[in-house]
């Protein structure tokens, strides 16, 4: 296995008294496709959002390319926390994320959606940014929709804009948060194919999904979560044959 890109160490998160994530440990190597499965409410999305600190974990740390990211607790670390927060954008710039509800910017055309990060985060000039954005949108099959506003696009097309927006920044890892759950059934395959293409290009991916076929075909490893903990991790083959009772129950309820 190649070098480790991303590590989660003892990551924990709570909303008030409700523990959402507890003691999450996970190492992800370059080029891996890790699919996270589990019943709803098990903390899959929160786990993903901890990786880029969109939902900052209260406990534990995230190590990305050897650099440690963590939040300090006590009020004495107020300044340290401000410093760490100020640097978060540099971490996030290396991590692409695609959301369940697309979250494309409705006041910008498809190409403007992609250009924004290229100019403001990567510091490209407008012309260079437009070139990269156009290439990125062509790659996801939206070459003819560059100047459309999201309102005029289908769900699948919006999700493609979101994928192009993330990929244009040339991230080192892509996070996918149930990206097909809000799509009409006939549009799901197209997006999954897009993700398959990315995986075969060697992109490191962490994918929260309910699409079991996709997970078992594409994943290098599958993480099964329940009640805020990682219950078991293994190759698709290992997970298919797992004897862990909760994983068994979940899989048989879904796969029948």
């Amino acid at each position: 296995m190649s070098e480790t890109l991303l590590q989660l160490r003892n990551v924990g998160k709570r909303f008030g008294d409700h523990v959402v994530l507890k003691d999450i440990n996970l190492d992800i190597a370059k080029g891996e496709v890790v699919c996270v499965i589990g019943p709803s409410g098990s903390g899959k999305s929160t786990l993903l959002r901890c990786i880029n600190f969109i939902a900052p974990p209260e406990e534990g740390e995230v190590i990305f390319e050897g650099r440690t990211w963590k939040r300090f607790h006590s009020a004495f670390n107020f300044i340290a926390n401000r410093k760490y927060e100020a640097k978060l954008p540099t971490l996030r710039a290396e991590i692409g994320m695609v959301f369940q509800h697309f979250n494309v910017f409705p006041h910008m055309t498809a190409i403007e959606n992609v250009v924004l990060g290229l100019t403001k985060v990567r510091g490209n000039t407008r012309n260079v940014a437009r070139e990269i954005a156009e290439r990125s949108l062509r790659q996801v099959g939206l070459g003819d929709k560059l100047d459309q506003y999201p309102e005029k696009l289908s769900g699948g097309q919006k999700q493609r804009v979101a994928i192009a927006r993330a990929l244009a920044l040339n991230p080192k890892v892509m996070l996918f948060d149930e990206v097909t759950s809000a799509l009409d059934p006939e549009l799901v395959t197209g997006i999954l194919d897009e993700m398959r293409r990315l995986a075969s290009d060697g992109m490191t991916m962490v994918v929260v999904t309910h699409e079991m076929n996709f997970a078992f075909q594409v994943a290098t490893r599958i993480v099964f979560m329940d009640a805020g903990r990682i219950v078991t991790i293994g190759t698709p083959e290992e997970i298919r044959n797992t004897t862990e009772p909760r994983a068994r129950a979940f899989l048989s309820s879904i796969l029948g």
Binding site: N103, F105, Y149, A166
Partner: protein, 242 residues
Amino acid sequence: MDNSQLFFDFAPIWQARTLLLEGFGIAMFSAVAGIFFAILLGLIVALMRLSRYRALRAIAFTYTQLFRGVPLYVLVLWIYFGLVYAVGIDIPRIPSGIIALALLNSGYLSETFRSGILAVEKGQREAGEALGLRPWQVSRFIVLPQAGRIVVPPTGNQFVDAIKDSAILSIIGVPELMKVAQEQANMYYRPFEFYTVAGLLYLIAVIIVSKGISKLEQRLARFSRASKEASSGERRPSEVGG
């Protein structure tokens, strides 16, 4: 037949037309300048109210309560007369009036802007942050442009209110439309005619502004439709889990 015998006589209006139009101009200028500064102040106060720092939130909250709670009449007198006697700050009439209009309207607008910013779907900020944009860039390029579209209609209403409220500036002698109308009405002893015309001029201004606002609204409609669709998606229970 003597003019003063007529029941209605609009001839004095024609004679005072220059004065009336000047007054109308000053009224419009005060309202526009007042709402302009109110938008700036309102935006600052709205951002303060949404700040992570409790002290800023407290200051902003007090500001909003204060200027929404004081009648414009009091505010105008307080600034023009009060400040001179208390601390020796002597502000001329028109600037005093503009400041009063700005403060009062900024109190209301800060609330409007705050709810407009909160109405932008949460996922928009998250998507911006996930790209690696800094928090101020997320506000500047993603949240505020969308909030701006949401607050166009209520801000337009506030502008309309400011136009009508500018009449109150007559109490400190700002030579705006109402002040002119009062003076001329007394001079010609024709209050009905002068106040009718003054009222009509306010009405015309309000109608024109309202038309302009709804034009603007229509042009922005495509975006607001898009954001409504997105926010209805946000409420899906499936998103909570996972």
